[in-house]
C-alpha cells in the first residue's frame, strides 16, 4: 500500500456505502492546497470520480494485486 505518501487516509473497505464517500468528502474539506487524501476501497468508485472532476480535484488510481484500489486525491493545480 502506498498510503504513507498521503496526508489523510480513508479506509472504506469495511464500510457500507455511502460512508466511504462521506468520509472522503470530509477529509477533502479538511486538507489545504498541496495536501492529499488517500481513499482505499475494494472497487473503483466511478461516481466519486465525477464528483471530484466537477469540484476541482485531480486523482491517481492504483490497482493493487490484492484487489484493493487506492485513489490519491489532491486539489487540481489552477
Amino acid at each position: 500500500m502506498s498510503a504513507a505518501k498521503a496526508d489523510r487516509i480513508v479506509d472504506g473497505r469495511d464500510l457500507e456505502p455511502p460512508e466511504p464517500f462521506i468520509l472522503t468528502m470530509e477529509a477533502l474539506d479538511a486538507i489545504s492546497p498541496g495536501q492529499t487524501v488517500m481513499l482505499v476501497l475494494g472497487r473503483e468508485p466511478f461516481p466519486l470520480y465525477r464528483a471530484l472532476q466537477l469540484n476541482g480535484y485531480a486523482w491517481e488510481t492504483t490497482h493493487n494485486d490484492d484487489g484493493t484500489v487506492e485513489i490519491l486525491i489532491r486539489h487540481r493545480p489552477e
Binding site: D14, L15, E16, P17, P18, F21, I22, M25, E26, L28, D29, G42, R43, E44, F46, P47, Y49, R50, A51, L54, N55, G67
Partner: protein, 431 residues
C-alpha cells in the same frame, strides 16, 4: 464540503425508478392471476395459466428490475453512460410494460394478434435497450469481471428475446417450430446467461459492498459468466443436432457452475463483518438456498426415476428458482438500491442548502423486514401448492399481498425523496 459537491448524476433518478416501481405491480398481477386460476396453474408447466404466471414474473417483475438496475449500474460500476438515458428508459419501459401485460393475456386467450403485439413490444424495447447499452459499453475496457459479465448478460438477453419472439410468432401461426425444445433453450438462456450472468456480475460488486464480505475469488469472477456462456452455447448446439447424452453432460456442468456461484455467495455471507444480518442479506441467503434446492431437484430428476416420473418436479423447480431465487434476491437488492439512489441524488441536489437524510431512514427497516417475512410466507405457500394444488388460491393471495407491500415500501422511499426535494426548494426560495 460534501454539501458543496456537485456531480451531474447520470441517469436521472426517474429513469431507473419507473422500472423499480412497476415491477411489484406485475407481482401483484401474478398473485391475482393465481387467485383467479386456482389449481389449474399447478397442473403442469404448460397450462395457459402456468405460462401466463411464469411470464408475469419473468417478463414482468424480473425484467423491469433488471433493466432498471442496468441503466443505473452501467455508469456506476463501468463508467459507461447511456446516451439520453431518460428517453431510452421511457421508451423501453413503455414497450416492456405493454409487452409484459399483453403476453400473459396472449397465453390465456391464445389469440394470434396478442402474440404479435407482444412480440413487437419486446422486439422494440429489447433492441433499443441492447443497442443503447452496447453503445454505452463500447470502448469500455473489460478491466474487471463485472464489466465482462454485464456484456455477456446483455447478449444473453438478446438471445432470450430473439428465441421468445420466434416462439411467439410460432404460437401466432407464422411458423411451424419445435416449441417444446425451443422453450428449454429460451429458459436456459433467460435464467442462466441473462439472469444468473447479470446476478453474478452485479454480485461481484454489491455483495462485498453492501454485505461487508470478502470479494469473490479473482479466478471465479473471471471464469464464471464466460464459462456459463460457453456451456449454454455448447448445450444449445448439441441439443439442436440431437446429441442428447452430450447435451445432458454439458447441462450438468452448467448446473454445477450455477451451484458453485450460489454456494460461494453463501460462504462469503458467512464471513460478513456485519454483526446482524439485515433484510438484504436475509433475502440473498434465502435466494441462494432456493437456487441450490432447484438445481438439486433438477439433478435428482435426471438420475432418480421416481423423481422424474413425478409431474410436480418442474413446477417445484420453477417456484424455487423464480420466486424463491430471483424474486427474493431482487427484493433484497431493491431495498438497498432505492435508498442508496435516493440518498445520492438528494446529496447532489442539496448543493449546500440541505444535507441528504440518513440512508437508513429512507425506507423503514422494520417495514422492509415485515414485507420480507410476508414474501417468504408466500413462497412457502407456493411450494405447498405444488403438492396440494387446492392451496393455490391462498398462495396467490399471499403473493399479491407481499408484492403490494413491496410497492408500498418502495413508494415510502419515493415520498421521502420528494419531501426532501420540496424542503430543498423551500430553503433555496428563502435564503
Amino acid at each position: 464540503m460534501q454539501a458543496l459537491l456537485s456531480y451531474d448524476q447520470s441517469p436521472p433518478i426517474t429513469a431507473p425508478f419507473r422500472f423499480f416501481l412497476t415491477a411489484p405491480v406485475f407481482g401483484v398481477l401474478a398473485g391475482l392471476l393465481l387467485v383467479w386460476s386456482g389449481p389449474n396453474a399447478f397442473l403442469s408447466r404448460w397450462t395457459p395459466e402456468a405460462l401466463a404466471l411464469t411470464h408475469l414474473i419473468t417478463a414482468g417483475f424480473m425484467l423491469q428490475v433488471m433493466l432498471g438496475a442496468l441503466i443505473q449500474v452501467l455508469p456506476v460500476v463501468a463508467g459507461a453512460n447511456m446516451a439520453r438515458p431518460l428517453l431510452v428508459a421511457s421508451l423501453v419501459h413503455a414497450a416492456i410494460t405493454l409487452g409484459g401485460l399483453v403476453l400473459p393475456m396472449a397465453f390465456l386467450t391464445f389469440q394470434p394478434g396478442m402474440f404479435i403485439f407482444a412480440t413487437v413490444c419486446f422486439i422494440s424495447g429489447g433492441l433499443l435497450f441492447v443497442g443503447a447499452s452496447a453503445w454505452a459499453m463500447r470502448g469500455i475496457p473489460a478491466t474487471g469481471p463485472t464489466i465482462n459479465g454485464l456484456k455477456i448478460a446483455v447478449s444473453g438477453l438478446a438471445v432470450t428475446i430473439a428465441i421468445g419472439v420466434a416462439m411467439s410468432l410460432g404460437l401466432a401461426g407464422w411458423f411451424n417450430l419445435p416449441l417444446i425444445q425451443l422453450a428449454d433453450i429460451h429458459l436456459v438462456w433467460g435464467f442462466v446467461v441473462w439472469g444468473l450472468g447479470l446476478l453474478a456480475a452485479v454480485a461481484y460488486v454489491v455483495v462485498p459492498m453492501f454485505q461487508i464480505t470478502p470479494s469473490y475469488p479473482d479466478w471465479f469472477g473471471k471464469q464464471f459468466v464466460p464459462a456459463a456462456l460457453a456451456l449454454a452455447c455448447l448445450w444449445t448446439v448439441l441439443g439442436s443436432i440431437g446429441f442428447e447424452t452430450s447435451a445432458f453432460a454439458v447441462g450438468l456442468a452448467l448446473a454445477v457452475a450455477a451451484a458453485a456461484f450460489a454456494s460461494l455467495t453463501l460462504m462469503l455471507q458467512k464471513r460478513s463483518k456485519r454483526s446482524r444480518f439485515d433484510t438484504n442479506q436475509h433475502c440473498w441467503r434465502v435466494a441462494m438456498v432456493s437456487i441450490l434446492a432447484a438445481i438439486s431437484l433438477w439433478m435428482a430428476s435426471a438420475v432418480i426415476p421416481a423423481v422424474a416420473e413425478w409431474p410436480g418436479w418442474p413446477l417445484l423447480c420453477g417456484v424455487l428458482l423464480m420466486f424463491g431465487g430471483f424474486v427474493s434476491v431482487i427484493t433484497g437488492m431493491l431495498y438497498k438500491i432505492v435508498p442508496f439512489l435516493a440518498w445520492l441524488h438528494l446529496q447532489n441536489r442539496g448543493q449546500g442548502v440541505l444535507l441528504a437524510p440518513n440512508m437508513k431512514k429512507i425506507i423503514d427497516e422494520q417495514a422492509m423486514k415485515r414485507q420480507m417475512i410476508s414474501h417468504f410466507a408466500a413462497g412457502t405457500l407456493l411450494v405447498l401448492a405444488v403438492f396440494l394444488p387446492e392451496s393455490a388460491r391462498p398462495a396467490g393471495g399471499a403473493v399479491a399481498v407481499s408484492q403490494a407491500w413491496l410497492l408500498r415500501n418502495l413508494w415510502s422511499g419515493v415520498r421521502v425523496f420528494r419531501e426532501h426535494c420540496r424542503k430543498i426548494e423551500m430553503k433555496r426560495a428563502k435564503p
